[in-house]
Amino acid sequence: MKNSETFTISTHGDREIVVTRVFDAPRRVVFDAYTKPELIKRWLLGPEGWSMPVCEVDLREGGKYRYVWKNDSDGKEMGMSGVYREVVAPERIVATEKFDEAWYPGEAVGTIVLVEQDGRTTLTQTILYSSRETRDAVLKSPMQHGSAMSYDRLENFLPTLGREALSA
């Protein structure tokens, strides 16, 4: 299956970004990967060249979590913390999130919903920002350290629109 069929990103209303992705695994495994520190540290690493030296999770309603990423080439660090508002294993997590040196105002609220069908899991990841300006700032710069995010130029997105429209 092509990646484009299982991975979507859209804006919803003024303040939300919604990501959906299908994983070839039952949802309890996906849930573990999202909630167990020793597993989170293996994938939620940010752009290439970053590691995650700190990952602390107190997985219960009202419990805190803290992630710290580190740029392996220049040693720069970036931390993010939050509080779990809802934890329903293995299907739903709601948590606040705030970067230590946030480049956008306010706290965001992330919701993760896992739906399993035939051994595959559809993830819907919604992040609600405090304002439209904030949401758009995050879209513009998913992680603050822009140099690390210097990906290639836009090639092709919005598949229904086609490549020619974007290069017009």
Partner: protein, 136 residues
């Protein structure tokens, strides 16, 4: 970014996203990417009346995604690529970020199911994931 220009670009982006939310409007843009076209030309591939198409065109025009050509008779519409590029570049950057994460997650999920990585059933209370040596 300076707040005023930031707010302006945000308003514009919002109009762009709203305009792109509709499949007919995306199809109109894809058609205009091949060159300018009149309302009659644009209405042809859709099972829609000209007034219905005109309504979509107004939304696209307000979002700055299309403009009108000089020919007063045909009033052809043409694509304005800039706002579209801005919006898609932002989404693209965000998509690339998550794509990198999800590819690693795919690999991990595979390893977990193959038994190459064991999930600890009981998490020991005092075991901290914090590697002090790494953290300056």
């Amino acid at each position: 970014m300076e707040p005023n220009s930031y707010a302006r670009s945000s308003v514009r982006l919002d109009a762009t996203f709203a305009a792109l939310a509709d499949p007919t409007r995306r199809a109109i843009l894809a058609r205009l990417a091949k060159g300018e076209a009149s309302v009659v030309d644009l209405a042809q591939p859709f099972a829609m009346s000209q007034p219905a198409i005109s309504k979509h065109l107004k939304v696209l025009e307000r979002a700055g995604l299309i403009s009108r050509g000089q020919d007063a008779q045909r009033r052809p519409r043409r694509l304005e690529a800039r706002p579209l590029r801005d919006a898609t570049e932002w989404l693209e950057k965000y998509r690339r970020f998550w794509e990198t994460q999800f590819h690693r997650l795919d690999a991990l999920l595979h390893d977990l199911q193959a038994g190459d990585v064991k999930i600890e059933k009981k998490i020991k209370k005092n075991k901290t994931a914090h590697q002090r040596g790494d953290h300056r």
